[in-house]
Amino acid sequence: MSKVRVLAGTRKGAFVLEADGKRKDWTIQGPFFAGWEIYHMKGSPADPNRIYASQSTGWFGQLLQRSDDGGKTWEPVGNKFAYEGETGTHQWYDGTPHPWEFKRVWHLEPSLADPDTVYAGVEDAAIFRTTDGGKSWQEMPGLRRHSTGNKWQPGAGGMCLHTILVDPKNPARIYAAISAAGAFRTDDGGQSWKPITKGLYSPFLPDPTAEIGHCIHHMALHASRPEVLFMQKHWNVLRSDNAGEQWRDISGNLPGDQAVYPDQEGKTRVFDLRGFGFVIDVHAHEPETVFVVPIKSDSQHFPPGGKLQVYRSRTGGGEWEPLSKGLPQRDCYVNVLRDAMAVDSLDSCGVYFGTTGGQIYASPDGGETWSPIVRDLPAVLSVEVQTLA
């Protein structure tokens, strides 16, 4: 019988949660690496027993852990992330040049075909790759050396490269997103990158349609149609049908906020903005079914009205329905961070997300009903799911 394994990275350790295909009764292992921040864990699609975890603290820096037995035991692998050549500078919060400094690994993206190959998205923004199972990591410097790199600025959470999507039909095509530099694509395996931000509008920028500077929170695609991208951005949700060449807003009827920014003429204007949030994911079997979790902003970062709701669009965006059965509908003030949602690929697609309040919610029926797998973990930073035969 099929089973699923949920990999949860939290502020104070890693947890591995398993259930059979019914997804009702769960076993929970952990905490692994207790006391350390686990920004992300992800299993290899080519070998589900191979799992990588990013382990860090402000005290002792970055470690990379690897499991070869499905998360039961772990061994530290290489943790040297050295930028290639001259590091150069990006812009600091005050606009002054600031040297690139490695801080942590935010996201690990194992190759679809080779368990020993993994991409790592790091802060300060860069992409690294291992081809020896994590023993050594080499920067793919084409991204950091992009001609706009010296103008990139960190978002409030740091200048993190948090999203890496490898095109399943063309592994030389990779998408990356950086807060708050924007979204980029390579078509030559990482040698050269181009911004893919046409159609994005960020009223907090001096030029709201600038090529760089957009605060992208997360991106997702469906393997059957990798040229279609979905983006959760600071303030709204977007879609591209041509590999990021052009984006259009699909926030539709998502909950909204009002924000005051200067307009293009420098006059104060109240913007009606819909669809703030961090996570976005696509149904395993329905490429036009998309999930987001609206969050109130600009700084509150909890569910609107204290009601935790997942919104689902079955039309590829634009039209959204709230899903709340089993989720708290009062007094809920948690956040759902950018890497904390995932889907399984069982016949009835399971959807999972974790909160900063330590809950991991699971829906075994594509979002119709929800229940907590666990309620009291440390703040959840990331959730990934493996569907096991």
Binding site: W36, G58, W59, F60, G61, N79, K80, F81, A82
Partner: protein, 100 residues
């Protein structure tokens, strides 16, 4: 024989309990102790000082003989009591003040 006390997280990482002992050839300094420690426990590379710059990580402190030696030059000789193994070289995680 140099005695080194690691903070709890690094003892877990190095899979040791209590003090560890390293051999240092030549002058006993912060750098020579850390070089020996990292040779003996490669998993500690990067956890105490930066891989590339070899600068002490900001929230790590070095104490010995009731003194805070964190801001001493890495090549400065350490007290004779450390070099002679009578006192340990302490690697300490700075107090966080409750953050996280």
């Amino acid at each position: 024989m140099i005695r080194v006390v690691l903070p709890a997280h690094l003892r877990t990482l190095a899979r040791v309990s209590g003090e560890v002992v390293v051999e240092v050839a030549g002058p006993v300094t912060q750098r020579s102790i850390l070089d020996a420690l990292e040779r003996q426990y490669p998993v500690l590379c990067g956890a105490i000082r930066d891989h590339v710059t070899l600068r002490r990580r900001p929230f790590v402190r070095f104490f010995a003989c009731s003194q805070d030696l964190s801001h001493e030059p890495p090549e400065a000789p350490l007290p004779a009591a450390v070099a002679e193994g009578r006192e340990p070289f302490l690697i300490v995680g700075a107090i966080a003040g409750g953050a996280r």
